[in-house]
Symmetry: D2
């Protein structure tokens, strides 16, 4: 992926950009190698002192990330040059024990899970904030009448509270899906060259268990080198989260139209400025969220299509996952954070909502439905 | 979608084709209207006798499906002409009570859930059969050595049992995802024109509850007219199931290559025949499964992209979901059923597996891993 | 694909549905076999009388389409059972000469091109009508001032004529792309079992040329069994046409909003009716066009992804193309025809456009730009 | 998009990475502003000296790319902070004339076209090299018999020359599509805030023409702010080029299988090395090409879906294009360059091709077809 200095900040947050950065991936790869050595020491396969030497080498810093990347193309994975770099820091005993019984994909897939865990934590926080903001709007505007619009035509009155409650419930569901993934699907990868754990002898399963414990990842039944639903699910869950943010964004954009003017994004110096039109105040955060979500959808299609992989290791399908996962986090993080900021400071104009109403009728059970949504939110917070 | 007589049978099963057929959708729409009337009668909104009249009218058969479809384009939904057809069968009291408080999308979304439930039941049965077949192969070939292949190069020995165990675990996970969806996400839709349940007064939530019970669907917190993650999740889960079947298919195709010849699809009169080459035996069921999975992936992209819908009713995004969901079931059903048939009758050549082995080494923990997978399968069956 | 009676009419036209129907495909397959026989007779490979017998058998009608489809699954193609059916109608000499030197894919790919040609002709007519309608609006409203809206905010004045001129130019480009495809890319397929034209001896290229002439298709340099850019291009060109229609549809939907109300779709009895709200007039044709375009985009993704096919015949990638191409035509035809109908009868409210204007300024070169667009249109018509 | 140091080099070339880098975009944006000032000076709208001042300021270097990117998020475009930075370098007269009559999208879209032109030039060179390599293989192996494989089963003999000729023709077509795009579709964007060229008075069209000439881009009939087929076409053409490279890659991967071993990627120190298996020689360049093509396909779906944009400026759809176009070039460049390298050094084993042949028969017109393909190639080179 190209660098991200010019356009990148338009579609992510600095925190999420860091969480899926080259440096983060490198740290995760090193963490795998250190944890593997410790697990093998625990199982008696290598001396504890050697494991400590390996762990120390991985955490010493100073890796030439650029050089590793450049040498990665020859083997198709950054693990080969990374191991070379590590070996240069190790004693002969360390060299012999490093990466023992593992294959490149073990390191990359486990690193992916570690990177994903951090990304999921950041998303959880922003989704929580987004939910709180939506809940606040639902509460405040529980009885604020406005037009319900179907096919973009005014249909019957609704309340802004119910609209915000709809956002709230959708955000809670998105957060639940990601949390459920985080709890049950983040797993270690360890299979060795052909997925048989061949070089770890009778200790193989003990090593795998110790590795999973060390990294606080689940232990899968089998190596999942070419069983990629785990990654496809993640892509889908991220697309659903980004799409949820973009649905809110679309509503904000439509409600911000000059002719509707029922809400406005929070004002800030320079925000929403046009290069040609000083009077304009564009719903720019929402626009950026919509743009980001479109990018996530594209990556989700790739990730769902990546399940069809040959034999014991893919020939291109897996290798396309790395950037797709990073990019999905980067953009989902951007979309969710933006909509959190929008809803936390949303300017709502109940007067205008009332005066725009061109249809008459009751708001039905809107208030009762808002209460149901808020109860759901409260229950969830006290769990 | 075009008719399905010429190419359709290549990519589905007769049972799944029926489950998502026009007739099935029509029945589900009628079932919604009948159940709604009963629920409203239970809540005291309409007389019980009128509800019975409506229910009888919906089950009398003889609807002009073709005519309803042709008239649907004017209103953008088949519900408008369907209600017209029903009204022609009802007393004035029935006409007045029919579809009371509901909107077209209530009927279509609930029908979608009913159609999906049937589709999920069919899939569950075929996934169970596919898992059983994979488990059988894993057990039988627990110790059958073969080449483990990475990037399509022989890497180290593995066992055919471990390969089949990998299929098994992936199939179990696909089945679990769909079962989890079936249990928790199939929900009734009832919101009325603007999602406020406006025309049902104080009985609205009681009607919704009774409707959900009548149809054995969950009751959502809020109407989900434009909160479409429920449908996006379904699309993703189907794509993951179809992709799982296609991964097995790809392995079978690759293992069936003339130069590899380690497995062959079950023979049957006329199967795998070429129009030009009588000697060939094509892995045609696996090929059809791969083709079907590609179609499901395309639809999953559409469904994940459909979350971004305006206000209280979509202007095209929702309307694109109907065919996408039907098609996803149709093709996923085809892919899974074909791979079940393939694995149930797979011809395995352990001799050839051995003689093809160009690499040496132990099969590591392959047998222990197979046992782990089979234990997982057994535990699950006894739950 | 499922049958199309209930939802199908919402997304296509009867003419396009017929053009890509089972019957149309069957006719095209039969036409290939007849033309091949004639070409082989012309090259002296088979007797003229036998070619005539084959041609007569293909045009006799009465083929059991349903039965052929059901038997297709065994061989993975409807060509095998179709040839069986034809053989039952032929003398021994006819049986011997039928399909000589051809493979199933030769028949299916050539049929696809014949089906596509008809689909392109239908699209060309509707795009022409759509362009004429847009040109009419551009001319009539050359000086009709309205708000130019960027990011859905009023920015500066523009004219409705310029908006319509923008639609016009986009439609002309879409038509040009499809016409360019029709002229240069519709090609015959003939390669035989391995793409070497092995069974046609020294006459092979003469047969290919005669076949191409008979069917009025181009002759490709090589068989394109696994060189699928020809199909991917078609999918992309259709997606661009459908997307062009959907862009117009989105503008119509947005301009029809209750709060904007600057245009309305042409009225017709029953059109835009809501099952819950008699007062509403939904922009239903535009909504259907947007929905259809989303389906085309999904299929275009599949078709662009289908280039990666193994060796001399695909193992699933090609087989997924058939439905994707038919569906792309079906939906593109629906989207374009609907927007033609919309623009031909669009109700425009210049008063409202003026009164909605919340920004001031000149309309710049809008009129000069409209004139440029109309000149482009005129030049093109007189070519 | 995330930075590209660790995984980036696996999927692109240094040249293409530079062509779509932040720096390249920044230069293109600056070039637009300079050329616009010169065009306005030529039209007499601003003094020539001021235009020269602006041009000098744009080429002085030293822009704080990172700072510009960080400030871009507030306005949704890097143009606003870039203009601020430029203004700091200009006299009051320069400030007043800078970006006159233009809108941010004019700058970004024109920059996109300039970036695309460079990307297309790099691709053209590598496609030419790839074609030459394929032609060389076709010539050398014109009569080298090998198995033709359909559905991955040996069908009939073919020649390796014909296979290479198939690659050649596909590459020529991919190059032609991109060249045709480069010649006819690279166009300047200039419309001003609402697409009416409002602030340029009667000189507007003269300015547009001079701008196009200055940048050697075509002049479109109308501003294309929300007529995005131009970008969708580019995305599709890149996906077709990447898919063409990946089809060759898939063939190389399949022919390199241990059990087939008919070709091997060119050897190089460290290439194809496995972290676990020193004996392996993975077809790593082809694997990287397949991976890259999958990423391009995902972006093409996004770009084809971006045609549906509201009114005169998109609210997210356009903003998603920037990264998608850069990424499409980055990955297509990587895929094509890798396959050029592979074919330029491909190790072919005619002995093994012969001994693998399990089917008998003539190679038909394979040699005549190779000659046709080579003639096409020669004719094209002498045009």
């Amino acid at each position: 992926m190209p660098e991200d200095r010019l356009f990148g900040p338009l579609s992510t947050t600095p925190e999420m950009a860091a969480a899926v950065s080259d440096e983060a991936w490198l740290r995760a790869l090193l963490r795998f190698e250190a944890a593997l050595a410790r697990a093998e020491a625990k199982a008696g396969l290598i001396p504890v002192a050697v494991a400590e030497e390996i762990a120390a080498a991985t955490s010493a810093g100073g890796f030439d990330l650029t050089g590793i990347g450049q040498r990665a193309a020859a083997s198709g994975t950054p693990v080969v040059p990374l191991l070379e770099a590590l070996r240069g820091r190790l004693s002969p005993a360390g060299v012999q024990s490093l990466h023992r019984g593992a294959t490149s994909q073990d390191a990359v897939d486990t690193a992916l899970m570690l990177v994903a865990r951090h990304g999921l934590e950041l998303l959880a926080a922003d989704l929580e904030g987004l939910a709180a903001a939506a809940a606040g709007l639902a509460r405040t505007h529980r009885a604020t009448a406005m037009a319900g619009r179907t096919l973009l035509q005014q249909a019957l009155p609704t309340t802004f509270g119910l609209k915000a409650a709809g956002w709230l419930v959708a955000v809670l569901e998105a957060a639940d899906r990601l949390e459920s993934y985080r709890r049950s699907r983040l797993a270690v990868q360890l299979g060795g060259a052909a997925g048989t754990l061949a070089d770890l002898g009778g200790s193989a399963l003990a090593v795998r268990q110790a590795l999973a414990e060390d990294l606080r990842l689940a232990e899968p039944v089998l190596p999942w080198h070419t069983a990629r639903a785990r990654v496809g699910e993640l892509g889908a869950a991220l697309a659903l989260a980004a799409g949820t943010a973009a649905k809110i964004a679309l509503d904000v954009i439509l409600l911000s139209q000059t002719e509707v003017a029922e809400v406005a994004e929070p004002a800030a110096p320079g925000r929403g400025v046009s290069s040609a039109l000083p009077h304009k105040r564009n719903p720019v955060l929402s626009v950026e969220a919509v743009a980001a979500a479109r990018g996530v959808q594209a990556q989700a299609g790739l990730l769902l299509g990546s399940l069809v992989q040959p034999h014991e290791r893919a020939a291109g399908e897996w290798q396309a996952e790395w950037a797709a996962v990073s990019e999905s986090f980067r953009l989902t993080g951007g979309a969710v954070a933006r909509m959190r900021e929008v809803l936390e400071g949303l300017e709502v104009d109940p007067e205008r909502m009332r005066s725009n109403l061109a249809v008459t009728g009751s708001t039905g059970s809107a208030e009762a439905l808002v209460d149901l949504a808020l109860q759901t939110y409260q229950r969830r917070r006290h769990d």
